[in-house]
């Protein structure tokens, strides 16, 4: 069994963002573990709860949500990138004096330090 850390830098509009979800399902069904998914750069937009794609298309935050809840996978979103690109928790929105917040549950805000620590603990890091 391998443990994977997925490093997502692709936006939700890209095929890579969908491939990451397919990869996670394939790894889990082959008895590997996805310990965490770290969203960085344009990848933080995958955690935006305010996405309403047509019902026959993939709702990316919902897919991650379901993987996280079923398989105890941590979903971590880079704090600096999320603030730059407008993916905020209620407390951050409040701090910046902004009206809305949109970080989907159970995504969590994290620092790059957490990424660094995670990448030393897993067998493989795979970037999408």
């Amino acid at each position: 069994m391998s443990t994977f850390l997925l490093f997502i830098t692709s936006p939700p509009s890209s095929q890579a963002a969908l491939s990451a979800i397919k990869f996670a399902h394939a790894a889990i069904s082959n008895h590997h573990q996805i310990s965490a998914v770290f969203f960085y750069g344009d990848g933080v937009n995958n955690a935006n709860a305010l996405q309403a794609p047509p019902s026959d298309e993939t709702n990316i935050p919902h897919e991650w949500q379901s993987i996280a809840l079923k398989h105890n996978t941590q979903l971590l979103v880079c704090s600096a990138a999320a603030q730059r690109k407008g993916v905020l928790t209620p407390s951050e929105a409040d701090y910046h004096g902004l009206q809305g917040h949109n970080l989907a549950a159970p995504f969590e805000i994290a620092g790059l330090g957490e990424y660094v620590q995670l990448q030393t603990q897993v067998t493989q890091v795979v970037q999408f």
Binding site: T9, G41, D42, G113, Y115, V116, Q117, Q119
Partner: protein, 117 residues
């Protein structure tokens, strides 16, 4: 364990370069061994004397000079990519190892983690 940061984008068109550099510095801060690999358009990030004031409020490429302070010693540049842009080692903002194709990718193969920006 060594982490390679691959830089393949030109400096100001997208945010990849800055994001790659920030991750490299974060890894170094936590005492991880980091090596930077510049090829294709990525070599343009290391060109010295960028005048970026009209483009962006911050010229992050000046921060490459701080890599030494973070004990990041391994900066590799693909010779062919430099030649594509008619650049030489002396045009670069940091003291980098300019390597031919085979040596460059051999160095990359020594890195257990590889992240592309």
């Amino acid at each position: 364990m060594k982490t390679a940061i691959l830089m393949t984008h030109s400096p100001f068109q997208t945010e990849e370069g800055r994001e790659g550099l920030e991750l490299a510095l974060a890894l170094a801060t936590y005492e991880q061994t980091v090596a930077l690999f510049f090829f294709n358009e990525g070599v343009l990030q290391l060109k010295n004397n960028h005048i970026a004031s009209d483009l962006s409020p911050k010229n992050y490429t000046a921060t490459f000079k701080a890599l030494g302070l973070y004990d990041v010693e391994e900066v590799y540049v693909l010779e062919d990519s430099l030649a594509d842009y008619q650049l030489q080692n002396t045009d670069l903002i940091v003291d980098a190892n300019v390597l031919a194709h085979d040596d460059f990718f051999q160095k990359l193969n020594t890195c257990q983690r590889q992240l592309k920006f």
